[in-house]
């Protein structure tokens, strides 16, 4: 117990959720991502509360009320557009920040907890995105909600052997779906529950974050006025009806699925993946991806934070980014032949990751050889590549052999 508490205490002290300790690096846009997330979050919550003045959470009235907000209510388009694009901004910020933490090795000790919290944040953000999307009650959101909430039903396959052994059906997967749907189909109960979850996630997290800032006494928005004003101007500009207003789509029709049908941009790659796999893996795959992603700090044992010092993880990160973009492109072109593409994806992944692993081994062997040779006898050509603090890091962690 004491060990876990010590581990947690050290990580908690070094938690830096919104880059608020990086006060010296304000000029670097990479370290603007943290305050950007917090800023867009506040904008989303405030605009969301204003939208609640006009929104009607019923199956019959939701679509019309959103249309009225967009088209009739003075400046309704502005509030709705700012709400949508600020939420997209949070998403973009979280994704880019996770990539930054990954390639810059920020998940290494003592950053493990921050890394895991950001993955949790990504999951909550996705839930918030799906639940908020259904509130529009258009075709895209209706079918997105329906497919996503059918995925847990297949988890019943996992408990099926246990069910047979016990003699009655456990059906926990279906139960999860029914609890979210408020019944066995999308209806009024679903929209009420989604409304509550959509608002609740942001509100509860904001309270917890406020508690965090209260305890750490750090600055909330580590950001100067200029980027804040710029972001706000961008939100207003893009929301304008003549530029790229928040989409309304067509009213949800439970009897007709349109062809083709797409999801919001951040789900497109996942959507393409769901076309390729058996439905049980549509749920397990992303779950495992996020679970393994959270465990990366414990899988990557290399000490250096430089990406070239851990080639396997560098290749993995770049490949994941490539697949994300490739899947997004394929779905936009509406291409998915299940007999052709999944073997190609698996084969290329195996080859790329195998090569990455070989590179990793080679690099590691070189590092070991360099560590074995005394510094004076080391060839001079390799000397500049070895960072100077390496010996001190080695000295600090005496528990592990080099």
């Amino acid at each position: 117990m004491g060990l876990v508490a010590d581990w947690l205490r050290e990580r908690k002290e070094h938690l830096d959720l919104f880059d608020e300790t990086r006060t010296a690096q304000q000029g670097n846009p990479l370290y603007l991502l943290g305050p950007m997330i917090y800023f867009f979050w506040l904008v989303t919550v405030i605009s969301g509360v204003i939208l609640m003045l006009w929104y009607e959470p019923t199956t019959t009235g939701a679509y019309d009320s959103v249309r009225r907000i967009q088209e009739e209510i003075p400046l309704g388009w502005l509030v709705r557009g700012v709400h949508k694009y600020a939420a997209d901004g949070i998403f973009l910020g979280i994704i880019l920040r996770i990539y930054r933490m990954y390639f810059a090795g920020e998940y290494k000790r003592p950053g493990e907890l921050g890394w895991m919290l950001f993955f949790l944040g990504l999951v909550l953000m996705m839930i918030s995105g799906v639940t908020g999307y259904l509130l529009i009650w258009n075709q895209r959101s209706f079918w997105a909600a329906k497919t996503i909430l059918t995925v847990p039903v297949y988890l019943d396959e996992l408990t099926a052997p246990l069910s047979r052994w016990l003699g009655y059906n456990l059906n926990f997967g279906s139960m999860i779906a029914y609890v979210f749907l408020g019944g066995s189909a999308i209806g009024q109960a679903t929209i009420t529950r989604f409304y509550s979850i959509h608002f609740g996630i942001s509100l509860v997290l904001l309270v917890l974050i406020e508690f965090y800032f209260y305890r750490t006494r750090r600055k909330r928005l580590n950001m100067s006025l200029f980027p804040m004003a710029l972001f706000l101007a961008m939100l207003v500009f893009i929301s304008h009806p003549d530029v790229l207003p928040a989409e309304l789509g067509r009213r949800a029709d439970p009897n007709r699925t349109p062809l083709p049908i797409l999801s919001d941009w951040y789900f497109l790659a996942l959507y393409q993946y769901v076309k390729y796999t058996p439905p049980l893996w549509a749920g397990l795959g992303p779950g495992l991806l996020i679970g393994i992603g959270m465990l990366v700090p414990f899988l990557d044992r290399s000490r250096s934070r430089h990406p070239l010092d851990r080639p396997f993880f560098l290749v993995l990160g770049i490949w994941a980014l490539f697949l994300f973009l490739a899947f997004t492109t394929l779905i936009l072109w509406n291409i998915a032949v299940i007999e052709r593409e999944p073997p190609l994806v698996l084969l290329s992944t195996a080859i790329v990751m195998g090569l990455g692993f070989l590179w990793h081994l080679r690099r590691r062997r070189r590092q070991l050889r360099a560590a074995a040779v005394p510094p004076a006898a080391r060839p001079t050509a390799r000397a500049p590549e070895r960072p100077a603090p390496a010996p001190s890091v080695l000295a600090g962690q005496s528990g592990e052999p080099a």
């Binding site: 066995s184 189909a185 076309k275």
Partner: protein, 222 residues
Amino acid sequence: MVERPERLERRGFLRLVTAVPIVAAAAAFLSPLLRLLKPNTRPFEVLYEPTVHDVPVGEVTVAATLDEVARPWDFKYFVFTQRYPQYTPEGLRAANVPAVVIRLPYKIRLPWDWARTIGKTPQLQESDIIVFSRICPHLGCIYNYVPNWQEVTAGYGGYVPPPPRRHALMACPCHLSIYDPADPQQPGRVLSGPAPRPPRTFLYEIRGNQIVVTDVEPGGIA
């Protein structure tokens, strides 16, 4: 010094003795929360099937007349109404199950083995009329009956059926599952896409000139 580990052991034991009832009490206090989220769970019901109270009940419907699907590959869309419990103060709600009647060019054995599980005996064994639920058995979108297979290739991801299956097919817009309604061994066989099984079928009777639908194969979310 000798007594120290013993004292710690005692402390640990006492902790355990207090922790167990506290955890049990917390679980007891939290357990009604599930009833709050899923009100058709009975109070104090521990061993039960969590979804047993959510089974929808369908209404007998006339799907089509025989004249409407007289020639091979004729089809007709219709809507079957089911009532299911919804967790709102109003309670029960009706949901639509979009469906399709298809006239096949030859007779096949109807896939009605499931009828016995709901206590029904099918009136027919084989027929050239088959009724499918249009809810995709994959993730619940509504798939389409596509009379021309070339439209399937063009619009549903690029699948090209082998020559014996170049006839009307069924295809889902969401994840591009493609079904063959006329497969003699397994009507609705999955030809391509992620669907784990053929679409669910309806039990029907021929009453005079009418195709009357009585039940839908259980399972899946409406």
